[in-house]
Amino acid sequence: MRALETILVGKGLVDPAAVDLIIDTYENKVGPRNGAQVVARAWTEADFAQALRDDATTAIESMGFAGRQAEHMEVLWNTPDTHNMVVCTLCSCYPWAVLGLPPVWYKSAPYRSRAVSEPRKVLSEFGVTLPESTKVKVWDSTAEVRYLVIPVRPEGTEGWSAEALADLVTRDSMIGTGLAKEPVT
C-alpha cells in the first residue's frame, strides 16, 4: 500500500494533503445525520419533497451534501403499501454524501445476495416485520445511481420540528433495513 502511495504521490497524481482531507471527511464529517436532515425536511416541507421527487441530486446538493463521484441520487418513498430497501449486489455503492461510508454488513456477501433472494428474512433479522400486504421492493445501487430511502413518518409526530424529527431517522431506516424510531411518549 505504501508502495502504491509512493508511486501516486511521486507522479503528482495524488496529493497527500488531499488524502488526509478525504480521511478526515469520512471519519468525522459525513454521516447519516446528513440524510436524517434530508428526510426530516422531506416530511415537513411539501415543496422540498416535490423538489426531491423532481431531481433528488439537485435538491440534496442544495443542502450542501454533494456526491463526490457525480453520482445521480434518487429517493425512494416508503409507504404502508410499499417498503423499499437498498443493496449493492456488485460491490458496495452507497450514497456517501448523505449516509457516510456503509456499515460492514452492507458490504458483506451475505447481505448483497440475500437482500435480493430473501428480503423479508433479512428484514426480520434487522427486527423489521412488515404486514404481508406490504410489498417489498429491493433496489440495486450502481456507481451511477445511489438511493436514499425516505421512511414512513412515525404516527404522533404532527407539529414536530424538522430538528426533532431528524432524531427519529436512523441510518438503517434510510437504507430500508429499519424503520424510523417511534416517538417516546
Binding site: 505504501r2 508502495a3 478525504i22 454488513w105
Partner: protein, 101 residues
C-alpha cells in the same frame, strides 16, 4: 449483522480508501470502472469484516493501477521491498520513512 459504526478499523484502510477517491477526483479513475474492479475482488469473499473488505479494495486498487499503466509491477515490487526494509530498519515507535533503510 450488527457492529459498531466505524468506517475504518486501521489507518491503512482509510489510506487506501482516500487514495482511491483522490485518484478519482484527479480524473484518473472512472468510478464505474472502479466499482467493477472492486466487485470482482469481492465476488468470492465470504468473510465479513473491514479487514477483508479493504484487503479486497487494496487488491482492486493495485489491479487498476497496473492495468491502466499508472504503476508498473516492477516498480511496485521494488518499492514494496524498500518499505519492508525501512520498516525493519526503523526503531519501534519511530515513523517509518523510506530513507531509513
Amino acid at each position: 449483522m450488527r457492529e459498531p459504526d466505524r468506517p475504518f478499523d486501521a489507518p491503512w484502510q482509510a489510506q487506501v480508501f482516500a487514495m482511491t477517491v483522490a485518484l478519482n477526483e484527479a480524473g484518473q479513475l472512472d468510478w464505474s470502472r472502479w466499482a467493477e474492479a472492486l466487485g470482482t475482488q469481492l465476488a468470492d469473499q465470504s468473510e465479513v469484516s473491514n479487514d477483508a473488505y479493504y484487503s479486497a479494495w487494496l487488491a482492486a486498487f493495485e489491479t487498476v493501477l497496473l492495468e491502466d499503466g499508472i504503476a508498473d509491477a516492477g516498480q511496485v515490487s521494488d518499492l514494496t521491498a524498500q518499505w519492508h526494509a525501512a520498516a525493519r530498519a526503523t526503531p519501534h515507535g519511530q515513523p517509518i520513512e523510506l530513507g531509513n533503510a
